[in-house]
Point group: C2
Chain length 357, copies 2
Amino acid sequence: MARALRLAVRGQYTAHPNPMVGCVIVSGDAIVGEGWHEVAGEAHAEINALRAAGDRARGATAYVTLEPCAHHGKTPPCTRALIDAGVAEVVFALDDPYPDVDGRGEQALITAGIMVRKGLMRESVAQLLAGFLSRNARGRPRVRLKLASSLDGRIAMADGQSQWITGRDARADVQRLRARAGAIMTGIGTVLADDPSLTVRADAIDTRGRQPLRAVLDSRLRMPLTAKMLNLPGKTLVYCASDVERQRLTDAGAVVIRSSGDAAAVDLRQVLADLARREVNDVLVEAGPRLAGALIEQKLLDELVIYQAPHIMGSETIGMFATPTWSALADRQNVTITDVRRVGDDTRITAAVIQGN
Amino acid sequence: MARALRLAVRGQYTAHPNPMVGCVIVSGDAIVGEGWHEVAGEAHAEINALRAAGDRARGATAYVTLEPCAHHGKTPPCTRALIDAGVAEVVFALDDPYPDVDGRGEQALITAGIMVRKGLMRESVAQLLAGFLSRNARGRPRVRLKLASSLDGRIAMADGQSQWITGRDARADVQRLRARAGAIMTGIGTVLADDPSLTVRADAIDTRGRQPLRAVLDSRLRMPLTAKMLNLPGKTLVYCASDVERQRLTDAGAVVIRSSGDAAAVDLRQVLADLARREVNDVLVEAGPRLAGALIEQKLLDELVIYQAPHIMGSETIGMFATPTWSALADRQNVTITDVRRVGDDTRITAAVIQGN
């Protein structure tokens, strides 16, 4: 199963919006086939592994990270293929919460006389598929906020200067975060100040041509037609609270979505629900303190990834989160540090946001 | 020499103001004696090692982390003892910059016909003795700033609430930092807000009864007679720019020192020079953003130790450094991360301040 999990990870940049899945087929002591789900619409992990195993799948055990599907989606059901191949036993880590599967895969295998075990390495697989599970269980994507800050937690000088706070290795690492995301979210303030592209550079990572959706929160539709991202590969969604000016943006190729909220801010829960409907499992937020602060105040953040550069910026600067409603120490948000590592000269700190506190 | 260095560290809480020194005496392949300098005024490392070796020191090699002394201080010269013991060779890591030694130890050994080698592990020893070297070379102690902050770099809520930002293990670790310091420095603002004790708790660490000096920067002598530290073991120094009110504080047992500077701030360089004259090698600063900011703006900080607690405090808070003179990105202070580790639930980040930038 550990091997299957490692295979699953190979689909991290390409399987969207499908979950990453890996499969290993073992006969006696030997691995006779392995596979992973590479691109949505193409073969699932089990099919790739069965193909590799050929006749040796008969009587073998298949280890799959996720419950095999029992429905005809873009491809035929994997349970059928496993049954036809004569597999004797299927071990899977995690129930598939997707409504069309959700226990039916397991049932189909049992009905066909295949021995089924489940739960092995469930936690590790659940962590890998946290976004997919969030979308299915909570109706919203998993939200990860990426920040580049100084050692004293500052993201820009008071006048906005912030270029190259972190080093080249950190910026390359951010490309990987982007490629793993179904959508990249930012605020109109960041668009107006920095005009970011929010794309995955093809020379950095092979996403099979896929670009994450770009979601801009722009309550009053101030998005300029000259914004760089409007002329880049991939789709730009502009979420607004008032869409009087929508035509000029739709003409420029953007998708304008009106959500409730006032002129000051769009409703973040609505935006996330809309992204889930667009099959986004994971959102990467690259934004200024206002959007970051709104997300943390509204308890909508799941993970923080902070690239901390080795310098001190001092007081005449801008912080990570604008949290005007937090006035007491008790308001602070607890997190759990899950990873700390060196990325070039910078320190990358990953933290899970504890929603219970 | 690595063993001698480890022995030297054993004096970290007690050798002040003397340097930590370790010594290992090797005869053939065997260690025949080892020692370290434990308490100022008592035997030096070489003497302790020679005592342990006894007759076996004859013809042996002595590894010492610091050049042996050649002068009568509180104890007789170590070079004399090494010569009398019949040691054949002395290997030391670092020249002793102390004016009464400074090459004379080496010379005395050579004159006596002992083979001398030096430089082995010089960098590691220099790092251990950075404070002692700073006092001798720069006429000021090494300055280490300790901070307890949230993951977003905030040290208190805007109204000052800051108790228990970091956990118990971090606070225990701070006791070790205090015990290693010759003086602990803070600002009057911190005294008025938090009334800290700035002592080493005897139940935490055995310093042989020594308490670091407490240095309070208090330009206008606002120090209240009720301040907790005035009634605790150890000496409190109060640095001011105007000493009209000194009598009430000296009556309370404090040492009041007038330095130049205006009502807003005492001259930090003068304060550090005074502490060096008082044989302080290492200063630990535990202070608010004003003093921390002044130290970093004036390029007087050598090391930062940040205990980063796993929570986000947001914007209605106070930062680590008040740096009113820094307005451009180019003003920031570069540092080198030298250590990152988990201390309880907190992350301890140690960074050397790069004074060249």
